[in-house]
Symmetry: C2
Subunit: 343 residues, 2 copies
DNA sequence: CTTGACAATGCAACCGGTTGCAATTATACT
DNA sequence: AGTATAATTGCAACCGGTTGCATTGTCAAG
């Protein structure tokens, strides 16, 4: 592997001149440039990125941490779409993405701190949706540029984040169902410990409240983002008899599918008897029976935006500090309609 | 950011001693170790991974390149499952994954060569399924450790790869359909330029040949891995009338769904009138109507295996040279059955 | 013909760890 | 006690680019 000094010798110049040629510095004469390039070419020289990083104190890399142990993560749309957004923008800026595996939530934090602490990346996008206060504080202490995908705890409102206003758009979904005449509406959230679950619940409650409806506690359930969670929720709510919901909102499409299947197994027709709305607008929603009305959350766009903010701050040499809220979009298909008239 | 020398000064030892403590070298006395650790702790010292990489000539990182422009890539199961396998193994060895975006196939090669040439990663897993001879040669010239996910051109049979024996298991699927009595079987491949498409066609042809059946050329079509591709295939084959297939094998679940929908729109029942088998055993297959029989391809396992081979070679200091074939598994659901008796 | 101004290049220190070898110290054995 | 041997630690060069500053070269104006 030839180094900059080999090239310098061959071209009869000083190593620093070769460096200047390869980092596109001005004030190199055309003839010298040519000579250096020729020598480099002949030797098959390619600058060593690690040495460069050490010297300029920048890696042109941003990092994320991913729990590789959690299977569902790789079946859902969140991770791949986030990757797409990340790659699109990093590519544009000539950056790359360093991905660290992690064995769980706590370890994700360890990994991120390790990466920024050892300067393996210039900044990070934090995907976790439970933003422990200590992670944020630690990142701030490290003086490491970061952008959260999701909103932080109010006590860290000042840090940079990109979020999807889950409360607002969940409220909108509920309003859509209310507008069609539903009065008994169920909320099937994911993991109750996760921020987005709480946000959606907030939107759900607000919509019902605005409509003057006092929701039964039984209308709220958690399905942990898996199909069976949706089925279980239906099973429990069906026991309410007259008070069972006429519409279900589920926080991802997989749970919504579970809801639909459970309802259909009870002989109920969708949307004639019961309406169902999912979240994420995945292929599952497109191909469900009936096709599932679903709240599209543009994870890819969010990730792209977060990455832009991050890289621009890195290049400008300051900490990211923007806060962005990205709109969602209800994709209407055939799984939701007016409630049965005789209900 | 404190350096090893700051710690050394504080602990009253030589920098090399601090280095030895932090890289777990033996022959450091307990008392010195303690003193160094205390000083490091007090200063908040964390070793600089870049400097270390430069010195030891290893990054503990492996790389992949991904075409971020191709949307379908992020909707299918291949990429996320591969990432899962990669992360699982890299994590185990304390490695990380560097992901480079790329604007297309040719650029993927550029990115990979750039990464290994600039020594940003110790090795790469090549995901592309069209293994241009020049990429492989270039990687070999660079002396860069790499493992292919998929089989290379026969002229490079010697390089390391992990593949899923697509021909054999496609043959098995066709045999399954033959065994139920089908005689007119369609093959709906993906992109005809891609290696896996040709391999599956090989298996398809072999199975029919073995059964003494000469397939019509019209029974072979390409759907480019999208739903509409499946629909189009059905549309074209339906024109064959009496000679239309009674069973379809599609090279991914999305095309299989397209096939099913197109058939159902023609009033045909699945599997009573026509059978359909998909590939990948995705959630789409699980939730299709009827549930789709699908050939599971363990991408995650393949990626894990490839990563193991790669990292072990890196650690051992030689080039990877293993070739591994991983079995697939036909997951039987409800979309395939015997053909109609009066056919 | 001299001097000034600027462009091009060289010099050397620096980025922050690592490691072979030498020097020092501690332990063991006669 | 005296020396052989092993365990610790220090020294200094090295990994491969980068960059502020000094030096040399060039051309134009005075």
């Amino acid at each position: 592997m030839p180094t900059i000094r080999d090239v310098a010798e061959k071209a009869g110049v000083h190593p620093s001149t070769v460096s200047r040629v390869f980092s596109g510095k001005p004030s190199i004469s055309q003839t010298t440039r040519q000579r250096v390039l020729a020598a480099a070419d002949e030797l098959g020289f390619q600058p060593n990125a690690i040495a460069r990083s050490l010297s300029i104190q920048r890696t042109n890399t941003i990092a994320i941490a991913v729990s590789h142990a959690y299977q569902g993560y790789f079946e859902d749309v969140f991770f791949p779409q986030v990757m797409q957004g990340l790659l699109e923008i990093t590519y544009k800026y000539g950056f790359r993405v360093l991905v660290a595996g992690s064995s769980g939530h706590a370890d994700e934090i360890t990994q991120l701190l390790d990466i920024v602490g050892s300067r393996q990346a210039d900044g990070i996008v934090v995907l976790s949706n439970r933003f422990d206060v200590d992670l944020i504080s630690a990142l701030q202490n490290q003086n490491a540029p970061f952008v959260l995908l999701g909103k932080p705890d109010p006590s860290h409102a000042g840090c940079a984040w990109v979020d999807s206003d889950d409360a607002k758009y969940t409220e909108q979904v509920i309003n859509y169902l209310l507008g069609m005449g539903h009065r008994r509406i169920a909320y099937v959230g994911g993991d109750p410990d996760v921020l987005v679950t709480k946000e959606r619940l907030r939107g759900y409650s607000a919509a019902l409240q605005n409509a003057g409806i006092q929701p039964l506690p039984e209308w709220v359930d958690y399905g942990f983002f898996v199909e069976d969670g949706g089925r279980q929720a239906v099973r429990r709510m069906s026991r309410l008899g007259e008070l069972a919901p006429t519409a279900y909102y589920a926080a991802n499409d997989l749970m919504a599918i579970g809801v639909m299947k459970a309802l259909q197994e009870q002989g109920l027709r969708i949307p004639a008897d019961v309406s169902v709305v999912g979240t994420n607008d995945s292929l599952l929603a497109v191909h469900a029976h009936p096709p599932l009305t679903s709240l599209f959350v543009p994870y890819s766009v969010m990730a792209a935006r977060a990455t832009s903010i991050l890289i621009q701050s890195i290049l400008a040499g300051h900490m990211p500090n923007q806060q962005v809220t990205i709109p969602c979009n209800l994709v209407i298909r055939a799984s939701a309609g007016p409630p049965p008239v005789l209900s």
